[in-house]
């Protein structure tokens, strides 16, 4: 008994060692450094997609909350991402021509798809994702993936820019999608963690599953928008509402991505001084920040808060 009492400090140590094992269950994404350099400051990507699977009758999701977001998913293999890829048309009910085109796709015939590229650990599964590796043909429209084209802006030549709008049904009155509020989504995004390291040719990002696909929030610009080849990038603070008494829900200004030709991009350019925009956004990993971290630290693995930015998918009333 006396021995046991004397060993109490060691009990503390054992407790420490036992509990220390709970920290990691991460999936690694390895991206080619050249890919990261090319896309880090771009809003969109154009790729040739072999559509391997889409829902029966190309029926879009219902409209409610969470995954019932009115999108249509298609899984496939592409020529640019070279990862298990899911492409999504937002507000798909309002893109009947594109849906018909999807129904007309022929297996193994690649079609051109343009849209906001997105890397997010929403459906990472249990295996690592290595860009360029071969992977099985998907038998599901939502396979394990971290790479997306979402939202699509052009599908096989069909312009769907008008789908960058509030998500709703075609009924009268329409049913409106309920996105995650800023006070739920942003503290979560801000707290996400990852590790980043680089080899001479690749950048590895390891993180856990991330959620909250669509967020409803207000932005106030922290700087001037910068035009890039396919859109506009701007730093902004995030708020829950239009109230001046609100505190920003983000720790530091976040980069917002606007796709050229969409309603959000047009509204951004006419935003009055100090004005706030009520928007619907989708998070994605900020590859510009990932790149600078990887450049700085090279092969030394660094733990960081997950660098993210928001694709502005719609202006909300």
């Amino acid at each position: 008994m006396r021995l046991l009492m004397k060993a109490r400090p060691l009990v503390a140590l054992l407790l420490l060692i036992t509990l220390s094992g709970v920290c990691r269950a991460e999936i690694t994404l390895a991206l080619n450094k050249t890919f990261v350099q090319r896309y880090k400051d771009r809003a969109t990507m154009t790729t040739n997609l072999n559509v391997d699977h889409y829902p029966d009758d190309a029926k879009p999701h219902g409209i409610a909350r969470s995954g019932e977001d009115g999108d249509i998913h298609m899984a496939g293999r592409d020529s640019v991402f070279k990862l298990p890829l899911v492409a999504e048309i937002m507000n798909a009910r309002f893109a009947p021509t594109a849906i018909q085109r999807l129904l007309d796709t022929i297996p193994e015939q690649a079609i051109s798809v343009t849209g906001a590229w997105r890397v997010w650990f929403e459906h990472p599964g249990n295996t690592n994702h290595i860009q360029g590796n071969t992977f099985p043909v998907s038998t599901d429209s939502n396979p394990d993936h971290v790479a997306e084209i979402h939202p699509i802006t052009k599908f096989s030549g069909i312009d769907v820019l008008s789908t960058f709008a509030e998500i709703k049904s075609t009924a009268t009155p329409p049913k409106i999608y309920e996105a995650y509020p800023a006070e739920t989504a942003f503290p979560y995004y801000e707290g996400l963690e990852c590790t980043i390291k680089a080899s001479n040719t690749a950048i590895m990002i390891a993180s856990k599953k991330s959620i909250y696909n669509y967020a409803d929030f207000y932005i106030e610009l922290a700087g001037a928008p910068k035009e890039v080849s396919d859109g506009h990038l701007v730093l902004a603070n995030v708020y829950e509402s239009t109230s001046d008494e609100d505190e920003a829900v983000n720790a530091a200004p976040r980069r917002m991505v606007f796709v050229k030709g969409t309603e959000p991009a047009n509204r951004l350019l006419s935003l009055p001084q100090g004005g706030r925009l009520h928007v619907l956004g989708i998070p994605r990993i900020n590859l510009a920040e990932v790149y600078v971290i990887a450049q700085q630290n090279g092969a030394t693995e660094v733990s960081v808060n997950l660098p993210y930015e928001m694709i502005i998918a719609a202006i909300l009333p």
């Binding site: 109490r8 400090p9 060691l10 503390a12 140590l13 407790l15 420490l16 509990l19 220390s20 709970v22 920290c23 400051d41 739920t184 942003f186 503290p187 979560y188 801000e190 707290g191 963690e193 080899s199 001479n200 040719t201 106030e220 610009l221 922290a222 700087g223 001037a224 910068k226 890039v228 990038l233 701007v234 730093l235 902004a236 603070n237 505190e247 920003a248 829900v249 983000n250 720790a251 530091a252 200004p253 980069r255 001084q273 100090g274 900020n286 510009a288 920040e289 600078v292 971290i293 450049q295 700085q296 630290n297 090279g298 092969a299 030394t300 660094v302 733990s303 960081v304 808060n305 660098p307």
Partner: protein, 327 residues
């Protein structure tokens, strides 16, 4: 009594994690300073390139095996990457292949083709580069782009080895620094646990400071945009979580140290001391982010109001200047 016992065990665990975290932060800072002073990444990159190009005389210097290597470093594309004569930490594969192809075909005017590269290689005296690149060219198609890609692949394979060297070197330095820090400060885990167990005042002070630390940012790299009008130019900034505060230093002084440490010189005391040092060295090698995460979990368990996996607390207010209303 059982509750009190459990609480003390948890507080000792928090104290240990806190000490490990501070020591790991000190180790990381020392490693970064060392890496900067020794320019280790740039030096290793140069060594990797020396292994690739270092056994190849040129027609102008037939007896100098380092001739091609030296010409490589005199090329404008490479000198433009040097700052204050410091070797860059990275070299794009594309730049490497462009310089190598240019050196091989410098006497050939006009548009290049694969035949020019092949002729340039054949004109070289016997050497490692000639042998390797002729094999690369013969195993590729007759397309110049493909040959350049193959040369890039040759370089990237070598750079994977350089990355391996760098990683090993960093790991070795981490261990060396962990040993140094542990011995210099007499960071004996067994002794620290014993002090925290026996001294409730010290334990309480450590736990209070640990709670403050848990509220600080995670020790990591932070990215900010120095110019709010340029969202394409993020920069690495230092993070408050990467430094040890004066209060924490003072507390470390109370928990660690050599004062009265050698009173017991029995065999058993020495065994305990060595075990304590080894545990501390291993703990430091796990890195600061690991111990910070664990500290947060323990502090959350202790406060009992918040489960470890509850959603994260609201972030601090923006650090950057508020919106420029005229933007």
């Amino acid at each position: 009594m059982a509750g009190m016992f459990g609480s003390t065990v948890l507080d000792v665990a928090i104290g240990l994690v806190f000490v490990y975290l501070l020591l790991a932060i000190i180790c990381t800072s020392a490693n970064e300073i060392l890496s900067g002073v020794t320019k280790s990444r740039g030096n290793l990159l140069k060594e990797g390139i020396r292994q690739l190009l270092g056994n190849q005389p040129t027609s102008g210097a037939k007896n100098d095996p380092l001739a091609l290597f030296e010409e490589f470093y005199k090329h404008g594309l490479i000198t433009s990457m040097m700052r204050d004569n410091r070797h860059p930490a990275y070299l794009p594969a594309r730049t490497f292949s462009t310089v190598v192809v240019d050196l091989l075909t410098k006497d050939r005017p006009g548009r290049l083709d694969v035949g020019d590269i092949e002729a340039g290689l054949k004109a070289l005296p016997e050497g490692g580069v000639k042998e390797s690149l002729l094999a690369v060219v013969h195993n590729t198609g007759r397309n110049l782009g493909e040959v350049q890609l193959a040369i890039e692949g040759w370089f990237e394979d070598a750079m994977d080895r350089v990355t391996g060297w760098y990683k090993r070197k960093t790991q070795i330095w981490t261990v060396v620094l962990a040993i140094s820090i542990t011995l210099l400060s007499n960071a004996d885990t067994v002794q620290i646990a014993r002090r925290l167990w026996r001294d409730p005042v010290l334990r309480t002070a450590v736990v209070e400071e640990a709670k403050i630390r848990a509220q600080k940012p995670r020790p990591s790299v932070t990215v900010e945009y120095p110019n709010p009008d340029d969202p394409t130019n993020p920069q690495i900034t230092s993070n408050e979580g990467n430094t040890v505060s004066p209060e924490e230093q003072a507390l470390l002084g109370q928990v660690l140290g050599w004062q009265n440490a050698m009173q017991d010189t029995s065999k058993r005391a020495w065994l305990e001391r060595i075990l304590g040092w080894i545990l501390t060295i291993l703990a430091i090698c796990l890195g600061a982010p690991f111990w910070f995460d664990l500290l947060n979990k323990f502090v959350n368990i202790r406060s009992a109001g918040k489960a470890p996996d509850e959603k994260p607390k609201r972030p601090e207010k923006p650090k950057m200047a508020p919106a420029d209303k005229t933007a």
